[in-house]
Amino acid sequence: MLEVQNVSARVDEKVVVDDVSLKVRPGKLVVLLGPNGSGKSSLLRVIMGDPRYEVVSGKILLEGEHITGLSPDERAKRGIFLAFQNPPEFDGVTLATLLLRASGRERDPRAFSELAQIASRVGLNPSYLSRSANKGFSGGEKKRSELLQALFLDRKYLLLDEIDSGVDVDGLRTIAGIIGELVQSGKGVLLVSHSPALLDLIRPDRVYLIRDGRIIRSGGADVLKDVLRAGFYD
């Protein structure tokens, strides 16, 4: 289980995560909803260990182990993956090189074809693997690149930050399908989403509602129904 216990964090003196607690269990889909600026992305970054955020209280546990002091790559290796909302572009490091090196599979002859297969599966042309990572990729292509990486790196817990924005209807169906499969295969997924279109296609096990950095409501799938009907999005 990935557990956030009463974590408060700030960036530049401003508190952006305020006493948040939540749990992500293997094989379960947890959805985090909230208006813009509510702290959803910040929370994901704090879980991942972004050095720009200072955790002032609380702890983050992964399979019972305290990971609050670990660097992002150490957390990644222990089993967490963060799909970025706005993936940065790279000049010179190709997508394939980045992934093969990160997974330690540069010398594995099957690794590249595996990458190509996954690329086709998420709807990304395999030629993108030989391009500088994310450089010149459209919004939708960047999301597919994140999904590709999530699938290839195969970590236990997946934090997906707005994996659906900029993606068309067909793409959303693909994404929803993949999320479903991941959960089925035993991964714990924490999904941050803004779009009713995607939320309509999935079945969350737990839903948290966040506002101004605090969890204001939590429950089962019924919370999602209420929120979608009431349309809280500012």
Binding site: D73, I80, V93
Partner: protein
């Protein structure tokens, strides 16, 4: 045919009136090369022809496009030039320095597609001029590694006929190296692709391209890796001549610095409006925090990512030269400085 002693005489005649560099291109810019050191090197009497393996020594050459009056370095070099060579098609060219100051001039008549590798192994100061004539329809590719702890002057002039192509990869890791490319796109559809990297030390790389015909294409990219104590400059003009049409030119001058000086001066002179694309940019390619964090979230430690980043960037500019042991050493020490 131009004889060696005529070349020497002409150069010696103009030497007294030459200067190393016309005044800089603005009131505050002087020079990025320590010409005083070159003056010392050129003033000695012990000149050596060094060893030129793969080329033929001759007494006279059919073509000579250099003008010694343009720069004192050229005037010195040609006034005491020990020998001239022509390259007849061997694959690898090895230029070795001798005792004292080594000076070499090589005329390349490229009639068939050719790949030229030059690894400049120099212990002492050195000057070399390469005059490259590329026949219509032919491609010439040159891979140059310049390293050495004494002043090195390397001047390359390339003349491209119709539909010919010149590509080059350059890696400079010397102390007081001055490398000057002048590429003339004289024929229709002649094109050039020049990329290189300066890794540590002190060097001044000048890449000049002149597009004078129809549909010429020129892409120039250079990357500087500067760590504390380094002094590295990349400058170059791409000129699109009035008589040209449909030119497509681009210069990308970039740098990574962890504490040394990096100077980037990509210049454009566009003398006609009949251009398809004319742009240049100068930028630093230091990885930002977000890129490092992103790589970490994939499981790469910050040090591993930085090392990968530097290696990949270098390879994108110097290709297989990245495997040369000297280059690997230089990059290793740069990577260490970026990881700190």
């Amino acid at each position: 045919m131009l004889r060696l002693d005529d070349i020497r005489k002409r150069a010696a005649d103009v030497l007294p009136t030459t200067t190393y560099q016309p005044y800089g291109d603005s009131p505050t810019i002087r020079s990025y090369t320590r010409w005083e050191l070159f003056e010392d090197a050129f003033s000695g009497d012990a000149w050596d022809r060094g060893k030129v393996i793969g080329a033929v020594p001759v007494d006279a050459i059919p073509s000579f496009s250099f003008d010694p009056s343009r720069s004192r370095a050229l005037a010195h070099h040609f006034s005491k030039l020990p020998a001239i060579y022509t390259w007849d098609g061997s694959k690898e060219l090895l230029l070795e320095s001798g005792e004292g100051h080594t000076a070499q001039h090589i005329l390349f008549c490229v009639r068939n597609d050719a790949k030229i590798y030059i690894r400049d192994v120099s212990r002492n100061s050195k000057s070399a001029t390469l005059d490259i004539l590329v026949r219509p329809g032919v491609s010439a590719d040159i891979s140059l590694l310049v390293s050495g702890s004494a002043p090195q002057y390397l001047h390359i002039r390339v003349h491209l006929g119709r539909e010919s192509r010149f590509t080059s990869r350059l890696a400079v890791i010397g102390q007081d190296a001055h490398v000057h490319y002048e590429v003339f796109l004289n024929g229709e559809r002649a094109s050039t692709d020049i990329s290189g990297g300066s890794i540590g030390g002190r060097s001044d790389v000048v890449t000049d391209v002149f597009a004078g015909s129809k549909s010429n294409r020129a892409f120039v990219r250079h990357l500087i890796f500067s760590s504390p104590g380094d002094f590295l400059a990349h400058r170059g003009v791409i000129r699109v001549e009035r008589a040209s049409s449909g030119a497509e030119v681009d210069m990308d001058s970039a740098f990574l610095t962890t504490g040394g000086l990096a100077v980037s001066v990509p210049q454009l002179e566009i003398l006609t409006d009949d251009v398809v694309h004319a742009a240049h940019r100068s930028r630093d390619l230091s990885p930002d925090d977000e890129q490092v964090f992103y790589a970490q979230t994939r499981g790469l430690s910050s040090d591993a990512f930085l090392e990968l980043y530097v290696k990949e960037l270098l390879r994108s500019r110097v290709a297989s030269l990245a495997d040369a042991p000297e280059v690997q050493n230089a990059v290793k020490s740069f990577s260490e400085s970026i990881q700190r």
